[in-house]
């Protein structure tokens, strides 16, 4: 077990709480930086996807995991970012500017979508965002002058300060930088008054309000920030695929994104990354496993959906805290070995909540 001797309040504010954090996260970053020289082109492309989905996941985690607002239409923000990027770079706007614009436009759309969130909660908010997702998908398909309609639209390779990022390696580097920046922004937000206000809204709106938190302002902020990250992720997504069409931003994509944060572990930043790894590697694992299964099952068309569904049900039943929760348990097991008890993470039944006043 590690005991930390605290001597100043600064210590509780720092991102890295102790030497172990510094060592392991530095090691991880180093590994990510040298990854292009270590892994094959195929796996590097997968890693790029993991990074892109992590950025989107961070945004959705902030909204769903930390503010307690569920969005069933997050693919729409991804799409807004992707199409903004495609339209702007197509018109000759430099890549960094287009990326910022994609984030900002998504944030603006997020604010508008956040408006119903001020009035409706839970399942109703889910339905409102779901409807929004359908509307946006339809706009992508119909607004042919900008989006190219159902035929889709092609993108050029991004160009940064006169340097064309044609290769997989250079684009991976770009995604890594964006991911690190997004992660730092989210971590900073969460350790600041803004982040605490979001957590307060998630846990009890009524007492958040009585502590002086402006519910409408913070919910809108959360929606905007979450959408901005999804938009930036969408812009990178568009560049990575070099081709986008409306059906990439449909309900299935939205559900995949939600699946990602739930399986990763709601309410943890790690969860966004673990969820992204799960979402990207799972199809590969299924593809590899197919050959070992009898043809009737292995070649069945709905196999992936079935496996995803089964995994999700498994997590909801047995590990509501997701992959990150599982990791916490494993880590604790080693830390306190041999004193791990089965009930250590069991929450005692919460006391009866007062009737919701609103």
């Amino acid at each position: 077990m590690r005991f930390i001797f605290k001597t100043s309040y600064e210590q509780d504010i720092r991102l890295a709480k102790h030497g172990g954090h510094v060592f392991w996260y530095s090691a991880l970053l180093l590994l990510m930086v040298v990854a292009p020289w270590l892994v094959s082109e195929y796996w590097l492309a997968q890693l790029t996807f993991v990074l892109i989905y992590s950025v989107v996941g961070l945004g959705l985690m902030l909204l769903a995991g930390f503010t307690g607002l569920f969005s069933l239409g997050h693919a729409a923000f991804l799409g807004v970012g992707a199409y903004t990027q495609a339209a702007l770079t197509g018109a000759g706007v430099p890549f960094p500017l287009a990326l910022v614009a994609a984030g900002l436009l998504s944030a603006a759309v997020g604010m508008v979508v956040g408006l119903p969130a001020l009035r409706v909660k839970g399942i109703y908010l889910g339905i409102a965002t779901l409807a929004f997702g359908f509307i946006v998908e339809e706009v992508f398909a119909r607004w042919e002058s900008v989006t190219g309609g159902n035929a889709g639209i092609h993108l050029k390779a991004p160009e940064l300060l006169g340097w064309k990022l044609e290769s997989g390696e250079s684009f991976y580097g770009l995604c890594l930088v964006v991911t690190v920046l997004a992660t730092l922004a989210v971590l900073n937000l969460l350790r600041s008054p803004t982040g605490r206000a979001l957590v307060a809204i998630r846990d009890s709106e009524i007492s958040a309000q009585s502590m002086g938190i402006h519910l409408a302002r913070y919910k809108t902020t959360s929606f905007a920030f979450s959408a901005a990250l999804a938009g930036v992720g969408g812009a990178l997504y568009a560049h990575n695929l070099r081709f986008i069409s409306p059906d990439q931003f449909n309900i299935v994509q939205s559900i995949d994104l939600l699946l990602m944060v739930v399986i990763g572990g709601l309410g943890s930043v790690h969860g966004a990354f673990l969820g992204a790894i799960f979402l990207i590697t799972m199809p590969q694992v299924i593809a590899m496993g197919k050959d070992y299964l009898p043809a009737v099952i292995g070649q069945a068309p709905g196999l992936q959906g079935l496996v995803y569904g089964a995994v999700l049900i498994g997590f909801v039943l047995f590990e509501p805290m997701g992959l990150y929760g599982r990791w916490l348990k494993v880590r604790t097991w080693f830390q306190v070995f041999p004193f791990y008890r089965k009930g250590m993470f069991k929450r005692q039944k919460s006391f009866q909540k007062s009737e919701r006043l609103r």
Partner: protein, 267 residues
């Protein structure tokens, strides 16, 4: 006691679809006193609290705090002008640590904006340390050192009650609303609570308005007591006066001739 008037309620009435929860209630809370609302269940005590925190709108009547009409202030602005509260059934932020809960109590004093927070500038950093210093003072006052890093979800009921009081104190209020501070506490914890309420009034100089059923606690800490029944004021005065008031006794125990007839039946 004749301090200036901090909070004044005038002719408050609330009508929930035909049910008069509060009917023409008026009272003044003076600066520096402990003012207690008592009354049987359903008397409208918590409704009065919810009117002051602007969770409900009064059907008629008005409340003034330091001369300002509360009706002009948004619900989230109530904390800003110096009114903090606790809840009858505890409304803490369950999936956060005690420390985080108390830091949220510092929200009204936040000095930084979203951008500063995003980059965690030196300004935010300094503000965080200052907030922490204030929070630690409250932790010292209420003996919460051991629970500082515990998740609220895993804490026993008695401790949660104290954490909620601590969170309200972190806002540095002028008026503290305590909704049944001793409910669910054992005798020893209730004793601690009484000490703290006295400390809050005498040392921090915070005016306390509370709803309470435990008459031992009420008579120990209250300067004045307002007894309510079925939304109406029965009596107002010192704890002793109110306890001796015939209408109050009747509200709690029933009228004398009721008792006499019960005895006759039993005999």
């Amino acid at each position: 006691m004749s301090g200036e008037i901090l909070l004044s309620a005038r002719n408050l009435s609330v009508n929930f679809g035909g049910v008069l929860a509060v009917n023409d209630v008026s009272f003044d809370v003076r600066r520096g006193e402990v003012f207690t609302l008592i009354g049987p269940n359903g008397a409208g005590k918590t409704t009065v609290f919810n009117l002051i925190s602007r969770i409900y709108e009064p059907t008629s009547g008005e409340i003034h705090f330091e001369g300002k009409a509360l009706a002009d202030i948004a619900p989230h602005g109530i904390a800003q002008i110096g009114i903090a509260r606790t809840f009858q059934n505890i409304e803490l932020f369950e999936h956060a640590t005690v420390l985080q809960n108390l830091l949220i109590g510092r929200h009204t004093h936040r000095a930084t904006g979203l951008l500063s927070d995003l980059f965690f500038t030196t300004k935010t950093r300094r503000a965080e340390v200052q907030a922490r210093e204030k929070v630690e003072q409250v932790i010292d006052l209420l003996d919460l050192q051991h629970q500082r890093d515990s998740l609220v979800a895993g804490l026993p009921y008695g401790v949660r009650k104290v954490v909620e009081l601590a969170r309200a104190l972190c806002t540095e209020p002028k008026l503290l609303l305590l909704d049944e501070p001793s409910s669910g506490l054992n005798v020893e914890e209730t004793g601690d609570m009484a000490f703290w309420i006295e400390d809050i009034r005498d040392e921090l100089g915070i005016t306390v308005l509370m709803v309470e059923h435990d008459m031992t606690l009420v008579s120990r800490v209250s300067d004045r007591v307002l007894a309510m029944n079925q939304g109406e004021v029965l009596a107002l005065g010192t704890p002793q006066e109110v306890q001796a008031n015939a209408a109050v006794v009747e509200a709690y125990l029933g009228a004398g001739d009721d008792l006499a007839s019960l005895r006759r039946q039993a005999a």
